[in-house]
Amino acid sequence: MSALLEIRDLHVNHGDRPIVDGVDLTLEPGEALGLAGESGCGKTTTALALMKLLPASFNQSGTMTLRPPGVEEPINVERRTEAGMQVVRWRHVSLVFQGAMNSLDPVKRVDHQLAEAITLHERAASAGDVRARIGELLTTVGLTPGLGRSYPHQLSGGQRQRVMIALALACRPSLVIADEPTTALDVVMQAQILELLERLREQLGLALILISHDLGVLAETCDRIAVMYAGRIVETGPVREVFDAPQHPYTKRLLDSLPVIGGSRVLAPPIPGGPPDPSDLPQGCRFRPRCPYAAEVCLQDPPLREVRPAQAAACHFAPWDEWPPVTEAAVEGAAG
Amino acid sequence: MTRERGVLDLLLQTWRGRIGLGVLGLFLFLAIFGSAIAPHDPDASSLDILGGISGDHWLGTTEQGSDVFSQLLAGARVSIVVGFAAAAISAILGAAVGLIGGYFGGWTDRVLDALENWFLVIPTLPLMIVLARLLNPSLTVLIAVIGLTSWAGTGRIVRAQVLTLRERAFVERARALGARDSYIIRTHILPNTLPLIFANTVLIVAVAILSEAALAFLGLGDPTRISWGTMLENAFSSGAPSAGAWWYVIPPGLCITLLVLSVSILGYLFEEYVNPRLREQV
C-alpha cells in the first residue's frame, strides 16, 4: 500500500535563516504521527509548508506527494498553484489550530461557518443535505446539533475546539493536521479532546499529524513520533520504542526532565542552555553544544539513520544500549 | 517586525522621514532667525500697494504696501509657537486625564471619560471660535483655546494603553512589592505610554497650526501679530485674489500646507514606530 503523504527533503528558509532543514516524513493512511519539539524547532513551519500557508517571506523547497484514497493521480503539492492548493486544503488535508477563538469568525453562527466550509468544496450540495451534514458533524465531535445556532463567544474553550475539529472534518479529508490542539486547555478538557481525536481516527480512518511540545499528549495519541530539533528530525520511530528506548541524547534528556507520576520524583539534571539561533547554527550536530556526550566526531553532521528496527536517530553514537549518567550539567552557552 | 530599527533610522533612512524633517527644520530656522533675515519691517506700510514681485519685494507687497516675504517670516514664528505650545498643553492634559482615569478606574475614570467623550464629540472649530470670541484675542488665548480643545484624543489613546498596562504582570509585581500608586505610575505606566503620547502630540502640532490659521483667517487671531492666517484674511478682505495679486495669497497658503504636511509625516512616522504593526501594512 502506498503512503498517504510523502515529504522529501523539505527545506524552509526565512531570509537566510534555515527554519526547516531537510525533513523527510512518510505517513500511511489512517496513521497518527506526532511531531514533537520545542518552540522554534520547525514543527509548525513544516505543517504550514505542507499546506503552502507560509507567508511570502518564507522560501520552501522539496517534494510533497499526497495520495488521498479515491484520487487516481498523486497530488504533487509543491507544484500546485494557490488556486490548486485551495482544493487540497480542507478537501484532502485540513488544519486544527491552537487558538480556537481566533480561528473562528466571531460574528457568524457556528452552523453558518460549517455550511460555508461544506459548500466551498461541494457547491452542488442542496440546503437540506448541508443541514444534515452540519448536524452529523456536530454529533461526531460530541456536541448537540442545537449548538450550531450559537456564536463562538457563547461556547466554552472545549466546545470551540470541538467546533474547530468539526470544521476540519467538514469536507471529509483523509488527513488532519492538529497544531497544539490542546495546549490552551486544562487537563480534563485536554483528555476529552484527545479522546475525541482517537475516536475520529477509528471511525473515519483519518490520518493525523499531531504537533505538540507535550510528549505525554503525543504518547497517548500517536502511532509514530518524529522529534525535531533546530529544523531537523533527530529521532523517529514507533511511539513505544522512542519513549521506552530513546536513541538520541536530546530525546533521552527531554524525557528524563519530565516528571512521570509513579516514576522517580527526583528529576534528572535539565538540558543546559537553549536551542540555537537559526542564523547561527553550530557546526555538525546541532545538539552538540548542549549534549553531555559530545565528542570530536560530532563536528560532522550525523545523518538520520535506522539504528534499531523502525527507529532512526541522527546521532553518531546511536544505537545507545546504555546511557552513561550525566554529571556535569553546565555546557558551553548561557542559561536558556 | 524588528523593533531594533530605531526612530532615528526611521527619520533619516526613509524618504518620508528626510522630507518631513527637512521641511520642518527649514520652518524652524525661519521662525528663529526670520526677523534677522527679513528685508523689511513686516508692519511697515508703504505706497506700493499690492505691488508685484520685484528685487526689493521678493514676494510683492500687501494692500498696505508691506513686504509679503517679511510678513511670511513673522508668520512662521506665530504658527510654530502656537503649534508647539498648544500641542504641549494638549499632551499634558491628555496624558494626565488618560493616566489618572485609566489607572485608578472607578468613578474618577467615569467622570474623566465622560469629559473626554464630550470634547471628542463636540465639533472643535466652532467651540474654539466661541471661546476665542468670548476672550480677548491674544497669542496666549489662542494657545490656551487650541490646547484645551484638542487633548481628548490623546486622553483616549493614553487611557486605552494604561488599561492594558495596568493588567500587565510587571505592574502587578510592583504592587505585590508594596509599591505606591505614584511610584507605579511614574516608573512603569508613564515610561510605557510616553512614545505614544509623543507620536500623538506631533500630530496635534499639525492640527494646532491649522486651527490657528483658521481662527486667524476668521479674524480671531492676535491682532498685534502677523500670522499666515491673518495674511490670508487680509488678502481676501482686500480683494487680492480678484486683483490678481497671487503672490499675496499663495505663499501663506503654501506655507501652511507644507508645514502641516511635514509635521503630519513625522507624526505618522512616530506612530509607526510606536506601533510596529502599522509599519507592516505600509
Partner: protein, 321 residues
C-alpha cells in the same frame, strides 16, 4: 513552630454584572516555613485569585490571612508581609517592564521597600548568581534581549533580592518549553535547599506538582476539595475530582490507556451548584450529595483530607473505595 502563612476561611467574591462570582469561597490552609505547597486545579478554580488574596492584591470578602500566627491587618503589616513573601507570575513576556534594564528590574524591590542604597549592587549580583545568570552579561540588557527562560530567571532574581522567606509562584513554568522548564524548576529547587525558601506553587500540571511539592491542595470552584502529602494525593487520590484529574494526565510512557474522562466542564463561579459543588459531574455521587456541602473529612491516608461525603462514615454507602 507557627506557619509562615495561613489562610483562615478566606473568601474572595467578585461582582460580575448582576451575579456574584465566588472565585475563592472559604479556603483554609497553612503554609509552613521551607515547605513547597502545591495548589492545583483547572483554570477558573480560583487558585490564582487565592495567590493574589494572600498578598492582599485582591481584598478578601471574608476571612483573613495570617503570618507567623498573627492576622495581617493594616498597611504596615501588609507592607511587611510583601517584603517577606514575594510573588512570580506566569507570563515571562509580561512580567518585566520592557523599558527597564535587568539591573533596574532586579533592584526595584530594594527601592520600593527603601533598602539602603549602598547594598543594592551586591544584593542584585547575588540574586542574579542565585538564578544562574552572570551579572556581567545580563545586568545591562533589556527584556527583549532575553529568552523566555532568562526572563523568568530575572523575575525570580527580582523576587529574591529582598531575601524573602516565601515565594508564591503562579504557574511559573507553564509558558516555557520543556527543557527550559526543567532549568527553572531546578533553580527553584536549589533555592529551597540553599535558602530554605518556602514555595507556594500554583499549577495545573499534576505531574509537576507531584514531583516538586511536599504537600498539595486540590481546588475546585473556589474550595479546597482535597489536601495531603503530594505523593499520597496524586498516587492515592481520595476525592472523585482528584481521581478524575489524575486519570486525565497524559503520560509519556507509551501504551494504551483506559480511562473515562470526566464529562462536562467546570461550572461558572457565579453559579455554584448546591450541596457538594462537584456533584453534577461526579461519577460516584449518591443521595445527599446535592444537598449536603461536605467539609474536609479525614480519609484513610495519614493527614489526607477530602471534602467528599464518601468519607463521612454516617452518610457514605458501604462502597468506600
Amino acid at each position: 513552630m507557627s506557619a509562615l502563612m495561613e489562610a483562615r476561611d478566606l473568601a474572595v467574591h467578585f461582582r460580575a454584572h448582576r451575579a456574584v462570582a465566588r472565585a475563592v469561597d472559604g479556603v483554609s490552609f497553612e503554609w509552613q516555613p521551607g515547605e513547597i505547597l502545591g495548589v492545583v486545579g483547572e483554570s477558573g478554580c480560583g487558585k490564582s485569585t487565592l495567590a493574589r488574596a494572600l498578598l492582599g492584591l485582591v481584598p478578601p470578602t471574608t476571612g483573613s490571612v495570617a503570618r507567623d500566627g498573627a492576622a495581617v491587618e493594616g498597611k504596615a503589616a501588609l507592607r511587611d508581609l510583601r517584603r517577606r513573601v514575594q510573588m512570580i507570575f506566569q507570563d515571562p513576556y509580561q512580567t518585566l517592564n520592557p523599558r527597564q534594564r535587568v539591573a533596574t528590574i532586579v533592584a526595584e524591590p530594594l527601592r520600593v521597600q527603601g533598602v539602603n542604597g549602598a547594598d543594592h549592587e551586591a544584593r542584585v549580583r547575588r540574586a542574579m548568581e542565585d538564578v544562574g545568570l552572570e551579572p556581567e552579561r545580563f545586568l545591562d540588557r533589556y527584556p527583549h534581549q532575553l529568552s523566555g527562560g532568562q526572563r523568568q530567571r530575572v523575575a525570580i532574581a527580582a523576587a529574591l533580592v529582598l531575601e524573602p522567606e516565601g515565594l508564591i509562584c503562579d504557574e511559573p513554568v507553564s509558558m516555557l518549553d520543556v527543557s527550559v522548564r526543567a532549568q527553572i524548576l531546578q533553580v527553584l529547587i536549589e533555592l529551597r535547599q540553599r535558602r530554605n525558601l518556602a514555595l507556594l506553587f500554583i499549577t495545573h500540571d499534576l505531574s509537576l506538582a507531584w514531583s516538586l511539592c511536599d504537600r498539595l491542595a486540590v481546588m475546585y470552584l473556589g474550595r479546597i476539595v482535597e489536601q495531603g502529602s503530594a505523593v499520597d494525593v496524586i498516587e492515592h487520590p481520595q476525592h472523585p475530582y482528584t481521581q478524575a484529574l489524575v486519570a486525565a494526565v497524559p503520560v509519556p510512557t507509551a501504551g494504551a490507556r483506559i480511562r473515562e474522562p470526566l464529562s462536562g466542564e467546570l461550572p461558572d463561579s457565579t453559579n455554584v451548584p448546591s450541596g457538594c459543588r462537584f456533584h453534577p459531574r461526579c461519577p460516584r455521587r449518591f443521595e445527599p450529595c446535592d444537598r449536603v456541602d461536605p467539609p474536609l473529612l479525614a480519609t484513610t491516608g495519614p493527614g489526607q483530607l477530602a471534602a467528599c461525603l464518601l468519607h463521612d462514615p454516617a452518610l457514605a454507602p458501604d462502597a468506600v473505595a
